[in-house]
């Protein structure tokens, strides 16, 4: 299978997502944040770097509404942002 792959390449291991699965947003509580993010992506033609604020806002909305485990945004790769007052503090 993946024994002795050349050049010391890593084997492709199927791993579950690090923080598990997102609970579904049945109530549409964070739909507005999602729309803002999608609008930003459309405007910048898909540039993720320019829309990081919107994606951070979406994740914080999720955390506020118990749709995501509360986590320091630094651990989610937003280390360059200042942590938000309520949702970001773990």
């Amino acid at each position: 299978m993946s024994f002795g792959s050349p050049g010391g390449a890593r084997s492709f291991k199927v791993s579950p997502p690090q923080k598990g699965s997102f609970p579904l947003d049945h109530g549409g509580e964070c739909k507005e944040f999602m729309r803002k993010y999608m609008r930003c992506l459309r405007d910048t033609l898909g540039e993720n770097t320019k829309c990081r604020v919107e994606s951070k806002d979406y994740l914080e909305c999720r955390m506020k509404n118990n749709l995501m485990a509360k986590e320091d945004i630094k651990n989610l790769g937003y280390g360059d942002f200042k942590p938000a007052s309520e949702a970001g503090n773990a």
Binding site: G8, F12, P16, Q18, S21, L24, M34
Partner: protein
């Protein structure tokens, strides 16, 4: 007077000893003795020495004549042979043992190496955790395009599509992407999804922080829901020479209906 032919010619006596006058009983023994002596005086170093020696020894035994002939000494006595046999056997056991040990080591190398790599992290086995995400630095000079595609199994009645066709990002940067699923039927349907990454070798760098895959998701009749994927591409992607020409990665999700006995196809080799 006696006929001389071939080998027997060697036995020929030069002088005829059989004369009329001597042909009587008491001279017979003399003749025989002379013949024997002549035969036995033939050197044992000649070509027919063994033959001669046999003849000589048997004849000399007949006459009671003893002559020192070349005697062969036995090379190995019984005791020395046993000793050698014992030494050979123990040597063979040692060599056999070493051979088995080396073969066993060769087979044991593979899992041992893997255990060693897991423990020490050498050779690229990466331990993922939130610490790595926090310390991750985006690789600014390598822009990638992540394309999204959505699929359903043939029997799955959901409408499932990506909300964006592509996102541009760099390795080491976390990104959010959305898919939308809708249940147009009037029965609740439970779906379960799996994903695929193309090109295949880029899949090892695709790290999902959170997504909606591998878990059952239930949709009520006529319900529409947004499903996010929060992921990043490992910064080591930029250092892999095999990924040098890769600029676009396609992430493709497929939804199946969750039924008993459903075997979800997992990405990678199974």
């Amino acid at each position: 007077m006696i006929g001389c032919q071939g080998r027997i010619a060697l036995l020929c006596i030069k002088k005829p000893v059989l004369t009329k006058s001597t042909w009587n009983g008491h001279n017979m023994m003399t003749i025989i003795r002379q013949t024997a002596l002549k035969a036995s005086s033939w050197t044992v170093y000649g070509r027919y020495s063994s033959h001669r020696a046999d003849v000589a020894s048997s004849t000399s035994q007949l006459l009671g004549v003893t002559r020192p002939y070349l005697q062969t000494r036995p090379f190995k006595t019984g005791r020395i042979q046993d000793d050698w046999r014992q030494k050979n056997k123990s040597l063979m056991m040692y060599i056999g043992g070493i051979g088995v040990l080396v073969a066993g080591l060769a087979y044991a190398c593979v899992p041992l190496y893997r255990m060693f790599c897991q423990a020490t992290g050498l050779g690229g086995t990466v331990k993922h955790g939130s610490e790595t995400v926090a310390q991750m630095k985006p690789v600014e000079d390598r822009e990638l395009e992540i394309r999204f595609s959505a699929d359903t199994a043939a029997s799955m009645r959901w409408n499932f599509r990506p909300r964006q066709s592509a996102i541009k990002l760099v390795p080491g940067e976390t990104a959010l992407a959305f898919y939308t699923a809708r249940n147009p039927t009037d029965q609740p349907i439970i779906g379960i999804s799996t994903y695929n990454v193309v090109p295949f070798e880029a899949g090892q760098y695709f790290n999902k922080i959170q997504c909606f895959c591998f878990e059952e998701q239930r949709l009520e009749p006529n319900e529409e829901v947004d499903m996010p994927v929060f992921f990043f591409i490992d910064p080591e992607f930029a250092e892999d020479p095999a990924m040098y020409k890769v600029d676009a990665i396609t992430l493709s999700y497929t939804f199946f209906e969750a039924k008993d006995g459903l075997r979800l196809p997992l990405p990678g080799y199974s």
